[in-house]
Amino acid sequence: MDTIIRIDVGAAKGPKVTKEAAGKYAGIGGRALTSTVVAAEVPPLCHALGPENKLVIAPGLLSGTAAGNSGRLSIGCKSPLTGGIKESNAGGQAAQVLARLGIAGIILEGAPAGTPCYLVTIDKDGVKVADDQSLKGLGNYALIDVLKKRFGEKVAVISIGQAGEMRLPAASIACTDMEMHPTRHAGRGGVGAVMGSKGVKAIAINDEGCKTREPKNPEAFKAANKVWIEGLKKHPVTGGGLPSFGTNVLSNIINEAGGFPTNNFKTGQFAGVSKISGETCAALETKRGGLATHGCHRGCVIQCSGIYNDAEGNYLTKQPEYETVWAHGANCGIDDMDAIAMLDRLDDDIGLDTIEMGATVAVAMEAGLLKFGDAKGAIELIKEIGKGTPLGRLVGSGAGAMGRAYGIERIPVVKNQAMPAYDPRAIMGIGVTYATTPMGADHTAGYAIATNILKVGGYVDPPQGRGPDRAVAQPPDRDGSHRFHRHVPLHRLRRPRPGRHLPGPHRPDQRHAWPVPHRRRRHRPWQVHPQDRARLQQGCRLHQGRRPPSDVDEARSGSAAQRDLHHRGRGTRQSVQLVGFLIGGRRARS
């Protein structure tokens, strides 16, 4: 896996394909590769839909090998939604197939003349790019039906729907799963719009004649892979909760914690959660002849997906994921599982980020465009996008655009990207990720964990008052509401003098809870400078927080904590070892 394919769609004589050695990008894959290429080659001030932006597609380093769960595909570019660097990723077959062809990455660059509709085909014989106008305007499902007839059912396809063609900021990129359904999406940040701006409708990849990648030290790799797979199967999450109930197993407990945003983040608990939970969904799938346990790519050990059939027992969509069920369910006040599954199907077909769409529909409900709980109205609203109507284009532009168009004050976005399914008022630590990642509200960044727990790149001890949750934990307003701030420049944060409270709308009964006690003066938390308060209040304001911040708890540890730490540390070391065996045959340092 040492080849990078560049496709310059703006070349004078039509798309120019260049194969080059990985060179300075050798030894990295997936998210590391896509982000490194974007950081190195994309001017930060360029227009996200212009010729200077690049779309980078890369499988993980272990993709194409026999390593368990090595089928993740990363896609990076400058985001048309946030205006910053973006990494979005997906499951499906594409990563494995690309890697078996020896391809470390595909880079789409330049801007096409006119309005082409390119179909890129990649196999062991090379890369071809052809303008195929017959594919224009097709949804992902219809597109795959066409490509299936041409290439058979063993190819993997990366594609965009109508939303990507229209370059809408909420457009996703679809990857086909094992049944060749376009159900696995790199959803966030409008990566589909960037693919559309390059005029590329689909990339069909065929690895026929290629073999599984062989490690340089097969015995060591095999042994490490065995431990890795056994670990996944034994763990109560990857071997129990996820395969049995899917990622939507989270709904009940996040709801219980008051962190399940409901009705456009108005409250943190949804009365109808048991009707849309992972437990309910799995039972329904089984009853209708679908599958509650299913993988989205070959070699998946966890199998957290499923097959969702409609009431007549016909395939409708894959098992809707937690974020989708929350976004189109609780956040829109919808407790009808079939309606949520239909919305998931439409998002997949038109090529849309389900998180962004759920948030956008909820903002539209807040604006009075339709009522909370109106499942039929929500379905019609999403269909508008596929039709390309003016309203549809507005919806496909995301929650921020919808809120601005309708003059909504409270829009749950950070850097214009919709917040995912974890309310930071209840789980403040996740708010750190939303606030600090350059990618906007993104629940997958979360690198605070690395330094807090795994001690990667340094160590910050959360209970010592320097933890990242202190950075965003703000006192509630007089009415008990909380504010969440975006674009908080770190240089404008300051440490308060010991014993002094910053002026602000504290509630008197919480004076002792904020800031930290004097005895921690050496580790005083960062706070927002008063001069920034007014500007920050222009950011996203959310109301009706269920819980005010309370006293600092004592540092706690225990046997469960130690076990968790041990498992995670060991898992990371095992992954590092797998990479080591693959690329060098040596045991990586642990």
Binding site: H235, P236, V237, T238, G240, G241, L242, S244, F245, T247, V249, L250, N252, I253, I254, E256, A257, G258, G259, Q269, S274, S277, G278, E279, T280, A283, T286, K287, C304, Y422, A426, I427, M428, G429, I430, V432, T433, H443, G446, I449, N452, I453, P462, P463, G467, D469, A473, R547, P548, P549, S550, V552, D553, R556, S557, G558, A560, A561, D564, L565
Partner: protein, 197 residues
Amino acid sequence: MRDLEIALPAGDPRREEALAVLQAGFGMEARVGMSAREFMREVLLFTDDYIENVISTVFLDDKPVDDIDRALLAEGSRLALSAAMPGLVGAIMRRGSPYASFREAITHRGEGHAGADSPESGPDKEEATTIIVTVKMFNSVMRDRGPGVLARGIVLASGRAVELCDAIGIDTPPGISQGLDSGEANLLRLSIVVSPA
């Protein structure tokens, strides 16, 4: 409180559907002031091994619990039980999680109800008081231990018992209807027993 029993034949798929009532919440009788661990051990009949190794996520009154010995039950308490959950937030919510500081604002701090903490409430008084708490069982806990709990009986309001019967497609037992007809907002102890194969 009246007792009602629904018997299902072995292998009846309706038993799986009946489990759904456990995630929405049901009543169980408990002793005032007993801890979450005591409740799981003595009322739900979970083994210590199961409590330690499987029940890794516990909520009391919507607050994630780290110490199940300090989480005390009171009349109307809501106790939710789950296995380990995925993702960063799933890890944050676990008992004794190293990431617990991420949710410290909502963590259950072991504060009991007023009765349990007050000096006049001695052990004898607590033992003499029976309360009803709302229990929710999620994911594998519901699947593994739900049938046993259903067989021993759960406390439901008459209206919800009727809804349950409708949902799983069985005729409403006369006992429930009688309660409704009389206009009583009464509770009943419903058990769903699966006949041995």
